[in-house]
């Protein structure tokens, strides 16, 4: 990938992205759904878009999913 293509990808923003606050508000609901059925993420496209773009929130998602999965 050329440096310009990499820059274009880095700068691209998804208008569906709901931001950290809204994503964290429903993270527990989202994680329970995804733990039961990975395809259920489709029900929250704005959260999915955010987690794809925000490293810290994605870390929280992965950590919560790992904790929930370890319990089951």
């Amino acid at each position: 990938m050329s440096s310009w293509a990499a820059l274009e990808r880095f700068l691209r923003t998804d208008p569906a992205d709901v931001g950290c606050e809204q994503a964290m508000e429903v993270l527990h609901v989202y994680v329970d759904l995804v733990a039961a059925d990975p395809g259920a993420a489709r029900r929250y496209p704005g959260v999915t878009a955010h987690l794809a773009a925000c490293g810290p929130c994605c870390e929280d998602f992965r950590g919560l999913l790992a904790a929930v999965t370890a319990d089951r």
């Binding site: 440096s3 700068l11 998804d14 931001g19 929280d60 950590g63 904790a67 929930v68």
Partner: protein
């Protein structure tokens, strides 16, 4: 079923109902519930700190202390917000979210103990291609790219956006460390960098550096 705030409450699963009953109860049953929940939160915090590879720079007694602090603070938050739990998820999933967020916040504050001399505004722009994941290649192309982005940053971003863009993108300061340093919240910093990315892209498209291949109105 409606809760005290008039919101429609989901039906609790049996395990969640047991938790709520124990934590809202009195005497030995409540004490047992509190101890059990605290134990779970400590376990989740320890695993999370290890999972995030914080163990590379936090270990032993310090890691245990951080995990207990996160569990203690999460317990306070959970008990304070118990009335807002509406059964939309399992109780433990709802509760674990609090300790995960505490771990993130504490790691953000801990960052500055490891990087006390980190400056937010002075960035090495030559690192930009590397930060974009581009390997060593055409140096002239890299130089053109850096020059164009610097121009976009200087001409389109506010001082606040510029400062955060440099800190996050060039200096790789974690968002949660900036939250701790600036006394704000993650959403505010994410939004500022999100807007900065969008403005830089618009500038680069308008000046012919990038093609307008937007997926939507971003």
């Amino acid at each position: 079923m409606m809760d005290r705030c008039g919101n429609r409450a989901a039906t609790l699963d049996d395990a969640s109902a047991e938790w709520i009953s124990a934590l809202r109860g009195t005497g030995a049953a409540r004490e047992a519930g509190l101890a059990r929940l605290h134990g779970l939160l400590v376990r989740v915090a320890v695993r999370e700190l290890r999972r995030r590879e914080a163990g590379a720079w936090i270990s032993g007694r310090e890691l245990d202390d951080l995990a207990h602090q996160a569990a203690d603070d999460a317990m306070l938050a959970i008990l304070g917000k118990l009335g807002s739990f509406r059964g939309e998820s399992r109780f433990t999933t709802w509760a674990y979210r609090f300790v995960l967020l505490e771990v993130s916040g504490k790691l953000g504050r801990h960052y500055w103990r490891q990087h006390p001399a980190q400056h937010l505004e002075a960035g090495d722009w030559d690192r930009l291609p590397d930060r974009l994941g581009v390997g060593p290649g055409d140096l002239a192309e890299h130089a053109d790219l850096v020059k164009a982005v610097r121009q976009a940053v200087d001409e389109t971003l506010t001082g606040h956006q510029r400062r955060l863009f440099v800190a996050v993108v060039l200096n790789e300061v974690p968002l949660d460390a900036l939250v701790a340093q600036l006394g704000t919240n993650r959403n505010a910093i994410y939004k500022a960098v999100f807007d900065a990315r969008r403005k830089i892209r618009v500038f680069l498209v308008a000046n012919g550096y990038l093609e307008d291949r937007r997926l939507g109105p971003s």
